[in-house]
Amino acid sequence: MEDAPVSSVNESIGASVAVRAATLDLHEIQATVLRPRPAPYFGTHVLLRIDDARDGRELFRRLTPHIDSAAAWWSAKTPWLSVGISFAGLKALGLPEDSLQSFPEAFREGMAARARQLGDTGLNDPKNWDAAYGQGQVHIGVQAFSDSEEERRRILRVAREQLDGLSVSILAMQDFGAQPGDRNSLGYKDGIDQPAIEGSGVNPLPGQGEPIKPGEFILGYPGESGFPLPMPQPEVLGRNGTYVGFRKYQSRVGAFNRFLQAHGSTDEERELLAAKLVGRWRSGAPLVLAPDADNPELGADPHRNNDFDYHNDLRGRQAPFGCHIRRMNPRDTKLTRLTDVKLHRLIRRGTTYGPPYDPNALSEADDEVPRGAIFLFISAKAMATIEFLQQEWINDGNFIGIGDERDPIIGLQQEGATFTIPKDPVRKLVRGIETFNVLRGGEYFFMPSISALKWLANGFQ
């Protein structure tokens, strides 16, 4: 650990970052919590069910040496494995009752049972989810990240070898990876804006904002209130752990393209509309910095592509109030309610799966092609934050002064949904917004520290 800031090149994200002394126990925190995905990235999600408590603990004994910590997370280091455990999984491992009860209520209930609080109804209702999810069957989620297909295969093989001879079932395996140009399933460069975490060992990138207290993201440290958040007990289990909201979306690419076609007669018009929905051009260039035309060099530059706020766009003429990135991080936007934006941020690990975005896919059959993104939303209070975001910032518009409008990208749309584009002399109201990303599954995981994994493996001692 260096005392004075030094410069280090993070080859994985192509940014040089200033490294400084970390105050977090990076050797204890799992790598996925702090380490961004490489570019390009290749990986696999594995969902497991523990059929025997002792075998479950044996799996953790075997797997733990292969789970990477966040030590020197800023330097390129792939591949890596991480692991999370659901509440059903902790029960299946035989965790004592008083320890089980020390987890937050929403985590104990599970994501499917919280559908009402999450607004996961209609198309997104758990009854429409893929078979593996929401049944209390998913006990363990293993994530493999790497920067090459070859390494992905190798590390996945390592993970699978640990299962040999154990009563642990594989429920689902989902490969993921960057699309050409590092794009997601709707054709956008994604994952650009992440919260800066105090004490994590690097200076924030331009535009990341003031670092947020680590206790908001990792258990055992002071949060923004000055207090640590309540932690699962005993302390060895909770400290340096965090929660992961796992949400699998399927992109309805046909519906999205049909919408763009219906509202734009030229490529330029369609691309501008696509940019207005997100707040960035597909290249990643933010509208606030590139209001009239795309600027791919800007989009590709991690030192510039997030370096903005909304003080020159008070009326949403560049980035509409309802666009995806202004909702998910309003920065200095004046909100209708007394809000501390820092309290509602999440670390996001987006993992795109399925065939690449196809701008010519227009049919309803194209909506059913398995293609989309699995998100890991990471925070020390992930359940509460995801519920807040779903209720307030995604499936409502009141907080930012646009009535009932919802997030055009990840919102669950109602009949007659609209998207307001502020413009001179009068705003443009775009109709025909549909649910472009449908929820197909979700689980909450606890992502324990390295010591906690050993403690679990060792029969809770």
């Binding site: 209130s225 209708t336 007394l338």
Partner: protein, 209 residues
């Protein structure tokens, strides 16, 4: 203190309109003559209203009632010695109207502070948009001192930054059994937006004449 009314009832156990009216008749058999006569005078009108019930009152998070987008909160707390005097003086500093600070919250429609039992207890009532604790962490982060300035008059108040503060509020909150909101779908932000639109429309109409 803290008695909670069950708001959501399962559809199976929901009595019919006739059964509800019958139940009311039975209870009013023991009422005063004034009450009995009043019931007879309105029973026909009531029966027709009951058969077409309004949108149901829901729960506003853990405690409290919500109709549409508007929630109610009633807290009754014992006060520490001198607490009433301090709180009253603070309220009077602003003419009993907290609008300069309270407006910033953005969700508060109204607040009332009622001292009773010889200044030993307080009834605090408010109505606001959304669920009870959605923004509580934001208040803790942004206006902790104003909350503690007022709530330090309350017996046993642990301080807003204390992890037990939410439990304290829940313990002293009583859910209303009746909750009427004239425009349940209008949030404060919507009301303000409509006021702006109304004003702009008037200006426009004046100009085109």
């Amino acid at each position: 203190m803290g008695t909670q009314t069950q708001i959501a009832t399962s559809p199976q156990s929901e009595p019919t309109a006739e059964q509800k009216i019958q139940k009311l008749r039975e209870l009013f058999a023991d009422a005063t003559d004034v009450g009995k006569a009043a019931l007879e005078n309105v029973i026909k009108e009531l029966s027709s209203q009951v058969s077409e019930p309004p949108p149901p009152i829901e729960s506003a998070g853990r405690v409290g009632a919500r109709l549409g987008k508007r929630s109610e909160l009633t807290i009754i707390v014992p006060l520490v010695p001198g607490g009433a005097k301090r709180l009253r003086t603070f309220l009077q500093l602003l003419g009993g109207n907290l609008s300069p600070g309270a407006t910033k919250v953005g969700t508060l429609h109204d607040m009332r502070f009622v001292f009773f039992d010889n200044d030993t207890r307080l009834l605090f009532g408010t109505s606001f948009d959304g669920d009870w604790d959605t923004y509580i962490d934001d208040f803790i982060a942004l206006i902790p001192d104003y909350l503690d300035l007022m709530d330090s008059a309350w017996e046993g108040w642990p301080g807003i930054r204390d992890p037990g503060a939410k439990d304290y509020l829940i313990k002293h909150q009583i859910t209303a059994d009746g909750w009427f909101v004239a425009e349940p779908d209008l949030t404060l932000a919507e009301i303000q937006r409509l006021k702006r639109i109304g004003k702009a429309t008037d200006e426009f109409l004046d100009k085109v004449q």
